[in-house]
């Protein structure tokens, strides 16, 4: 009974400490202390990035193999904390609004608890821990989606999210139960030996995958995505689309390569089908969208499909390509959401549509430029980071022999470029007599947007990040 093992889980324990500090601060702080609340949270989280990276130099296996961490996982955790910090930075203005101000503390607490859940999900080497981590990552998120209590859309998004989530976890658990039934253990390293690819196991695999597919929002498990993204507060949408998705993808990769290694042929085929469907169908939806958040929802589904190209290879190269893709994706998506968040305060009804963006260039040239770069990055246009991440993802899938899949994905990039350009067109070209007035960003948002800009421009050209990731892979 070595309870000191708890203290070896540095990222989780420190994050928990942050969680507790914030929780208590929320309870006790009043008046002027509350004003520094946001800054405090941001600082703590940024500090936590350092802790995560510091913890990454050693490999730890704890609790009888239930918990495992290495440099790659630590890096991914740091990445997630970084992304969450961006989210929190961008949330400042929204949290100042009357409805949200009273719930400021809850927002941080819920956000951090989901982050803790993701950490455990990433480090889990046992399906029970994985499942609890996943639930910890989704249930408070449901509360966040429904955070704007007085907005019908937020509530609707929340209920759709939570119901689908419960449905998905039930299906996933059903799958896991059969895995347990046929193998007799739920420890990842032991499971691989017991797997033989029987029909039942294939069924269980698909059921399990459906649950994670829900989190990553892959077609056909994606239908909640657009509705929830649209209804949720923008910062939460951002969080959903990058952090939650990133953690789930990484976990999926680990489980597929660790647990389902004997069934590689099967899951590759499964992911093949899902990838093609995700990219294509999401693109078809995206070209028809007008609401920006909804549009980004479909864009994120399509991006998830591209990430699957790295997953399908199941190689070390694929892993580094995937992590790099997620990192770049965080940067670009956070930039877009940051801008959406900034702009929608100036829009009647609070729902930013593409028409609102018309002629934005005249009034907000800098935001427009950043938005353009971010969209180009998402579309895979050099010299922005998105090009590199996409290229590497294609390379890894090509390396694994999925030529036709790569080709389909490539053709789809053209479609995706089309809808990204639609927005660029709206901002630059479409004339508009009353564009959104000049928007002044607060300092926090500005910091986060600058970080995103740096990431978009430099992550690809400066190769050290990728090289670092590549050193950690497997």
């Amino acid at each position: 009974m070595n309870y000191f093992e708890f203290f070896s889980m540095i990222p989780e324990i420190s994050l928990l400490a942050v969680f507790v500090v914030i929780f208590i601060f929320d309870l006790v702080a009043t008046g002027r202390y509350r004003r520094i609340f946001h800054a405090l949270v941001c600082l703590l989280m940024l500090g936590h990035i350092y802790v995560c990276i510091e913890s990454g130099d050693k490999e730890v296996t704890l609790f009888g193999g239930m918990y495992y961490s290495n440099s790659m996982i630590a890096f991914v955790k740091a990445m997630l904390v970084f992304g969450s910090s961006l989210v929190v930075l961008q949330a400042h203005r929204w949290l100042r609004s009357t409805h949200a101000l009273a719930k400021q503390g809850e927002f941080y607490v819920l956000l951090l608890s989901t982050l803790i859940g993701m950490f455990f999900m990433l480090s889990a080497r046992h399906f029970l821990l994985f499942f609890i981590g996943m639930e910890l990552a989704s249930l408070p998120l449901a509360c966040l989606v429904a955070f704007d209590k007085y907005r019908h859309h937020s509530a609707e998004a929340g209920i759709k999210y939570v119901l689908t989530s419960m449905f998905a976890s039930a299906i996933m658990l059903y799958g896991i139960s059969f895995l347990y039934g046929t193998i007799g253990t739920l420890y990842f390293e032991d499971m691989a030996q017991g797997l033989s690819g029987t029909t039942m196991q294939i069924f269980a695999l698909v059921m399990f995958f459906a649950g994670l597919g829900f989190k990553i929002s892959l077609v056909p498990f994606h239908l909640w995505t657009a509705d929830s993204y649209q209804g949720a507060p923008t910062v939460v949408t951002a969080y959903l689309s990058v952090i939650s998705k990133g953690a789930a993808v990484f976990t999926l990769f680990v489980i597929l390569t660790k647990v389902f290694a004997p069934m590689t042929a099967q899951w590759q085929m499964m992911i093949y089908a899902v990838t093609v469907a995700s990219i294509t169908i999401a693109n078809l939806f995206a070209i028809k969208q007008n609401n920006m958040k909804r549009f980004m929802a479909f864009s994120s589904i399509s991006q998830a499909g591209y990430i699957m190209l790295a997953v399908i290879s199941g190689t070390a190269q694929g892993m580094s390509a995937m992590v790099f893709y997620i990192l770049v994706y965080i940067m670009a998506n956070m930039a877009v959401f940051g801008i959406i968040e900034t702009l929608q305060h100036n829009v009647e009804g609070g729902e930013l549509t593409r028409e609102h963006c018309n002629g934005l260039y005249k009034t907000n040239p800098q935001l427009t430029l950043l938005m353009t770069l971010a969209l180009f990055s998402l579309g895979g246009i050099p010299p922005f980071a998105g090009f590199f991440s996409k290229f590497f993802v294609f390379m890894s899938a090509f390396d694994a022999g999925f030529l036709v899949l790569v080709f389909i994905a490539l053709i789809n990039t053209v479609i995706s470029l089309y809808y990204y350009l639609l927005i660029v067109k709206a901002m630059y070209i479409t004339p508009n007599d009353n564009p959104i007035a000049k928007v002044k960003c607060d300092m926090y948002t500005r910091i986060s947007l600058c970080a995103c800009l740096l990431g978009i421009v430099l992550l690809g050209i400066c190769s050290f990040v990728y090289i670092g990731i590549d050193n950690f892979a497997f």
Partner: protein
Amino acid sequence: MNILNLFVAIPLAMLFALWISRNTKQIRTVMVTGSTLLLSLSVYLTIDFIAQRNAGVTAAQLYTDSWSWYPALNICYSIGVDGISVAMILLSSIIVFTGTFASWNIKPHTKDFFLWYVLLSLGVYGFFITTDMFAMFMFYETALIPMYLLIGVWGSGKKEYSAMKLTLMLMGGSAFLLMGILGIYYGSGATTMNIHEIAALSNIPTEMQYIFFPLTFIGFGVLGALFPFHTWSPDGHASAPTSVSMLHAGVLMKLGGYGCFRIAMYLLPQAANDLAWIFIILTTISVVYGALSAISQTDLKYINAYSSVSHCGLVLFALLMMTRTSCTGAILQMLSHGLMTALFFALIGMIYGRTHTRDIRQMQGLMKIMPFLSVGYVIAGLANLGLPGFSGFIAEMTIFVGSFMVDDTFHRTVTIIACTSIVITAVYILRVVGKILYGEPCNEEHKRLTDATWDERFTVICLIICVAGLGIAPMWVSDLINNGVGDIITILRP
């Protein structure tokens, strides 16, 4: 310090300087300084390159250098030039330089226009100096995407549609291309992305070549206006602002031909030999079809765009003939077409800027109103139809002589068919010249128009000098190219 890096560094510095510049004057200063620097640098490069060759340096590539970039994926930032690239860099510099003057009074958002413009040229330079497939592809796409905004924001007519079509078609092409590049990389054992090392390995299995050659060739061919993937060209050119048309037709379309030669044919020689006939047929169609289409157009830019289809088709056609002479001719044609088309588009832009119409039925007698521009147009037209003394002639003749060296009926026949384009070209050029320049001015409003301003004159004269210079003294540049072509041809025709 490798001089080639400056070709990337200067545009980067220009981007930065533009970013911080505050008014039009500063922007113009930055642009003129930068483009002049680039031009002088490329002139220096050309001279130095020739001097080194004359001094007996026989390495295939000069100024080579390589920095590891993504070591795990064997991606390097490798640079190096041979005669072909030097010629292309020179061409790009000339066009960028003159394009700056052609867009002297661009409005609105002058700064952003030049930002994207410089980004485009950055891509072009990068493509020509690098020898690593990844870096080439990166620069290639970097050069493509600014087109969208340049056409969409500063263009005219149905610019949004055209810009979108152009971008999507070219990006569709690069989707094919990316497949091809990955195929080449993995086909050659995934050990290097450097094209010369891959060529030296020459270990790509023939069956793989059969798959990836068409992909790569079509990928680049889309940009080279290969039939039937050329339809972005007329719309795109028609909508683009002057300097963008210049840069696009003058340089960007050359990336296609260059890429076809440098990557598709060089790295996949067996497939290139075996499958060339398919593409020869397509390019022959391009050549004649483009020219015939041009005859019945009424929009000046459409005429020129179809003419570009025809001429660029000739480039690919000549490359596929795979004789040393024809390939030299192809590169010459790239240079020549680049300069001539830039000149043409510059003039069309200037005329359009005054008359506000490009419909040849609505213009007449411009010779009396704007003699300078009209004379320039006649010269451009004559150059375009291959008048000796201008660059078009030497390029076409080299191509035809070179193509005729392939001794079989099929190649002979298509060469003769392609030759007919010189007659058709004359038809549409003279048709336009006769319709819009000659005669009495028909439109009262046109009579009040003025002739070219100093910046326009400068642009036109620079380009005419280049076109004539290449046409009168072709030998040095032909030698320059011939050396570079030789290495590739020895692989193609062992």
